[in-house]
């Protein structure tokens, strides 16, 4: 059984996993960080998106053992105390969620989009959201929120 160590939201964590344990299982079941969701479990929906070494990835499609030694950020690591991350705040202000199931993945993915492209156009945001599925909102307010947050994050 591989024993693994990684930094999650700035904290050192460790655990024993099986070879087949997925990163999302480690995050949810071992660390109890249930903000990261599993929507499809088939690499399609993006609900499980977290950042590994600064890049957005689908944690349902990564082995936990592969992330040994990595720096992982989940939705729980974004806010600074009671102050939401600008992307979370923009989702709130723009009503970019309904049931909220896709939201953690959307927010993590959205931050990845803005990190790569600090001034995305509406079309670029829509294209970059390819890997995230939302069954409620119709995406419109999500796209608005990301555009607004991009401006905020630049400021």
């Amino acid at each position: 059984m591989p024993s693994i160590k990684m930094t999650v939201n700035g904290k050192e964590v460790s655990g024993e996993v099986e070879g087949r344990t997925l990163l999302v299982q480690f995050i949810r079941d071992h660390l109890g960080l249930t903000g990261t969701h599993v929507g499809c479990d088939t690499s399609q929906c993006g609900a499980c998106t977290v950042h590994v070494n600064g890049r957005a990835v689908k944690s349902c499609s990564l082995l936990a053992a592969h992330a040994d030694g990595a720096d992982v950020q989940t939705i729980e690591g974004l806010a600074d105390g009671d102050t939401l991350h600008p992307m979370q705040e923009a989702f709130r202000q723009h009503h970019a969620l309904q049931c909220g199931f896709c939201t953690p993945g959307m927010v993590m993915s959205a931050i990845g989009i803005v990190n790569d492209n600090p001034e995305p156009s509406e079309t670029e945001i829509r294209e970059a959201l390819e890997g995230n599925i939302c069954r409620c909102t119709g995406y419109h307010n999500i796209v608005e929120a990301i555009g607004a947050a991009a401006k905020e994050m630049k400021a």
């Binding site: 997925l22 957005a56 689908k58 990564l62 592969h66 993915s109 990845g112 989009i113 970059a128 390819e130």
Partner: protein, 262 residues
């Protein structure tokens, strides 16, 4: 997913040694194909040998008129590479059409070629640009590499190290994406070099293939009009719920003309 022994390679030699010592191993690159396959229990390896630490298998360089992309380079890194965008912009653009942001952050060119999905995007570029696949054992030309559906010329345990793409005078890529998965239903890569024109298609058949009728017609003049009236046969093309063989044959012509800027 069935369990397996997880091993992490420390060098290319270590990777092939670990592979060789195991009963039935698989290499793990980005895992964007292998992990979903394991989760569906479509495969049951005894060992998974992770190539993730092999930094010397990552990177892009220019060597004697060619762009060399090492096997573990991600689709994102190809898409955003200044060198690739300068020298073979169509290849950079192709990498940017693969899957989504998260898939491109993980998936690698080596994994894509080794897997040889009938709808994989890269094989069209490898074939049209007449690339060479460098492995730990030998060099394989693009024309010899893709041998069938999910099948390549790679031997058991042979590791792709890099792909060398000769820089063309001109090239273009266009695909018609599946509306759900966004994989190409048909993709066409066209490349013009001093040796002539090569046209390679992905998504339409069991694996990527060249269209010599188009290549001959375009050698006389690099103009989409030269192929407009050429009907590609639908013999042996894929039919599935997304598109019939006949429709794919039609798309081959349309996507090739669009790849040329029409």
């Amino acid at each position: 997913m069935y369990d397996f022994e997880y091993q992490r390679a420390t060098s290319v030699e270590d990777a092939t040694a670990k592979y060789g010592a195991a009963e039935d191993a698989r290499f793990l690159a980005g895992g964007m194909t292998l992990v979903p396959v394991l989760k569906q229990r479509l495969d049951q390896p005894s060992d998974v040998v992770d190539l993730g630490d092999l930094d010397d298998m990552r990177g892009i360089s220019e060597e004697g008129g060619a762009i060399v992309i090492k096997a573990m380079t991600t689709h994102h890194d190809v898409n955003t590479s200044d060198l690739v965008n300068n020298k073979i912009p169509a290849l950079a653009a192709l990498a940017g059409t693969i899957g989504d942001q998260m898939v491109r952050n993980r998936g690698t060119i080596g994994g894509s070629l080794a897997n040889n999905d009938p709808a994989a995007s890269y094989p069209s570029a490898v074939l049209a640009l007449n690339a060479t696949i460098k492995t730990n054992a030998r060099e394989i030309s693009a024309d010899d590499f893709f041998t069938g559906m999910f099948d390549t010329a790679l031997d058991e345990g042979e590791l792709i190290l890099a792909v060398s793409f000769p820089i063309p005078e001109e090239s273009g890529y266009k695909h018609f994406p599946n509306p759900a998965s966004r994989f190409p239903i048909v993709g066409s890569f066209v490349a013009k070099s001093s040796d002539g024109v090569r046209v390679a298609i992905t998504g339409a058949g069991p694996c990527a293939f060249r269209v010599t009728e188009f290549e001959d017609a375009l050698s006389g003049g690099f103009d989409p009009d030269a192929i407009r009236d050429i009907k590609v046969s639908d013999d042996g093309l894929n039919t599935d719920i997304h598109a019939s063989a006949e429709y794919r044959a039609h798309l081959i012509n349309v996507m090739t003309r669009r790849a040329m800027g029409e």
